[in-house]
């Protein structure tokens, strides 16, 4: 069972260091402030995930990348880590149909193009969704999030 510790008390206030700009320290800091121990595996995954700008990955893809980087991490640990990162707010699960789960390193409020066939995801340039345009939620409920997926197909077909 994956263990998800609570965020470290006061971590935000007393970060271990502030060598911003160095990817290694950045990842360590991300983990630290999230209350996750910077283990070898999590550092490696953090490196793969956050050092290259915004990404959309599946557990399988990350696993392959780790192996390509000669870092040995079991698939189970990758799943566990992805969920821990998600709970810590470092990642976001993306809701598209299809059997596999995608994780997005861009946790800001945004939406996606989904290319049919390849299942590739592309961040949308921000489209503003006016809350006033949205329908009223049923009684007792509030809107937690709006997710928009724009499916793309080859132009000629």
């Amino acid at each position: 069972m994956p263990t998800v510790p609570k965020p470290r008390r006061g971590a935000q206030a007393v970060p271990p260091d502030a060598l911003a700009g160095c990817p290694f320290h950045d990842v360590r800091m991300k983990l630290w402030t999230a209350g996750l121990r910077p283990t070898r595996q999590r550092m490696a995954l953090g490196w793969l995930l956050f050092a290259k700008g915004d990404r959309h990955v599946t557990a399988e893809i990350l696993h392959e990348e780790a192996q390509a980087s000669r870092v040995s991490i079991s698939l189970a640990t990758i799943y566990n880590s992805l969920h821990q990162f998600t709970q810590a707010g470092l990642l976001r699960e993306i809701a598209i149909d299809g059997s596999r789960t995608y994780f997005d390193t861009n946790v800001s409020d945004h939406h996606h193009f989904l290319v049919e066939g390849t299942n590739a995801l592309i961040d949308l340039p921000r489209i503003a969704i006016d809350p006033k345009e949205l329908p009223e939620p049923p009684a007792g409920k509030r809107i937690a999030r709006v997710e928009v997926v724009i499916r793309l197909r080859d132009a000629e077909s």
Copy 2:
């Protein structure tokens, strides 16, 4: 392997009868015009799916309902039938995350509320999405569909 025959030639032009209003004949006609043989199993499923207005179902739910109706249909056949219905345009798959696939009997252009926790789906009153508001698709691609999911959470939490 599920076989999905092409729509019956000229079926639209020469429907077997036109007793609209009778659910039994309506389902039979739906299948007929879709080019699907009205077998006992498909008739039963069509009955469950289309006789009660718009519905959101999983294969599992349909299976339980069929058993509750004392109709014996294997789960494999339910999966096959759901996909055949979908290909025939009688159903639509809904893209939400989560492990199971939902099918919607409302195939018109619309969107959904998704209640967190129960995973219940609720059709949205039509919200117009202005095509002019949408971002430009990448070169060589066109927009096939826009899907909006509004996640709901209990108001107090």
